[in-house]
Symmetry: C2
Subunit: 315 residues, 2 copies
């Protein structure tokens, strides 16, 4: 059984990363509230440094390293947001960063990683290729591997967004986050349940990448089944660590259609005038598909990120 | 010579509209500052109600009406943002709103006006058709015409964004706003120069719709010359009122290319993760084209609005 972070671990992470992260704003939309019959608070991690919540976890993992551990730099594999976040956090600590990325990653995400000064090694877009290429990079450089989500300190960092959200919105009934590898949902659910046990925590996942839903329902960690969704941040499957956390702290996971994700994304863009990536729109899609579960409730949503390729929009 | 608002008129407007408008946030981007060598503060009127600064002027004009004046409603002609703003402000005061719009107006803007409950009469996309159609509407309904910019109270309302901006950013060297009909630049320049006379006020205008630039340079109000720009909020020409104000209070007007407008808009979308319409990007385009005028200076920019048709993006 992996060791699970507690609220005090997340609070310690917050103290550690606070000088380096944005305290992102919480936005609301009267029109979206009217459409959904709900009362929604959007925690804007699309405004976080490097454009996503991933910067919190990456910063916590990097700042927690001893000088000796950090000396040879850090490495990771990621389709995008974690890579950019780790690259920026490494640059701020002044250490090297090595990133293994699939050659199919969005151009904006590749560019961001390069701009932050990381060294990129491209691989095939399979988990196998990622992992074997990463092994070679770590062996060659002696760097420390920081996993995108299967990492105690990364999960703690991601949970800090919920500390800020709950601090801003008292009386929150429900907190919801998208779930891919489960780092965000894991940190979110520990933070929310530990701050106030009455808070209901939901995950939101594309139907076309529903391994977390199947894992939670079966009680056994399920493999992904050819995930194919516009929410490209949610393609990965849970790890043993995040599955253990989510099984313990998350009340349920909603799965949503691709059409609902695009509809929710369009509502956020048009009505809130903010840019979010498809993964961020998955929780609102869950509200649109299941309005009765949220009616009259105060729901906090983590808008996970805003890194989109503007030349490839779904509308 | 038309009567020009003073700082105390704008302060009175602010007191009047404050319960009804959002105090919009001021955003910054380290990357845009690095690219431009400047220090830019973006006043996010794209987050204003109805998605644009126009709501300030419309609200001030409507809330300043006596009960008797307001009784038969208000009317206007507008290609979009003023119409939506007036419709919402009228709905909040509980009075009727009649809008004359060119049938070529963007669908999102037509929809917004309808959603706020205004009655739309479509006209040809010419100033003549707008004005004659409006005359008929006013005659038929007995409503009060609220001009989009050639109106004392509207100019005062638009100036309130600058009061908030300067209150938020002390030591601002330059304030810049896009210029179409001149309501925003007029209110902005009175507010900025009156709060602190050392502040430099610039207008920013598309080269392809440069009537304000030509008017300021010649000292004589110039007609538009077939304006054709992606910045569809800036197609209109100054009025006698706004020309008089801008001549007195604005230091200079920069004109920019269409390519720069699209480049600036893309930078704002990609790096700041916010949605702005092309008109809003015109001041940043002026900085990109004239970096030396802004280098090392603290520049406040009014991001005028965020109402775009997502199916018709320039990238």
């Amino acid at each position: 059984m992996p060791s699970i972070p507690t609220l005090s671990d997340i609070q310690a992470a917050y103290k550690r990363i606070r000088p380096f992260v944005h305290e992102t704003p919480v936005h609301t939309s009267q029109t979206i509230n009217r459409i959904t019959g709900s009362d929604i608070y959007f925690k804007c991690e699309n405004f976080q440094k490097a454009g996503a919540f991933k910067y919190r976890g990456a910063t916590n993992a990097i700042m927690a390293l001893s000088a000796k551990e950090a000396g040879k730099g850090v490495a990771t594999h990621s389709s995008g947001n974690h890579a950019a976040a780790l690259a920026l956090a490494a640059a701020i600590r002044g250490i090297k960063c090595y990133v293994v990325m699939p050659s199919s990653a969005p151009e904006t995400k590749i560019k961001a990683v390069k701009n932050y000064g990381a060294e990129i090694t491209f691989c095939e877009p399979t988990l196998e290729s990622r992992e074997s290429t990463l092994k070679q990079v770590v062996k060659r450089t002696g760097s420390v591997f920081i996993h995108p989500f299967d990492d105690f300190n990364v999960v703690c960092g991601q949970g800090t967004a919920t500390l800020e959200l709950l601090n801003h919105c008292s009386g929150t009934d429900i907190v919801m986050a998208p779930v891919g590898g489960g780092g965000l949902l894991g940190g979110t659910s520990i933070a929310a349940k530990s701050v106030r046990s009455e808070i209901i925590v939901y995950g939101a996942e594309p139907k076309n990448a529903d391994d977390a839903y199947r894992s939670l329902k079966s009680g056994i960690l399920q493999p992904p089944l050819k995930p194919n969704t516009i929410a490209d941040g949610l393609l990965t499957a849970l790890s043993e660590l995040t599955f253990t956390i989510i099984s313990k702290y998350t009340d349920d996971i909603f799965t949503v259609s691709e059409a609902s994700i695009v509809e929710a994304m369009k509502l956020i863009w048009q009505l809130m005038k903010i840019i979010v990536e498809p993964s961020s729109a998955v929780p609102l899609a869950a509200i649109i598909e299941n309005p009765e579960a949220f009616r009259g409730k105060k729901t906090g949503i983590i808008l996970s990120g805003g890194n989109v390729d503007l030349s490839k929009l779904p509308f």
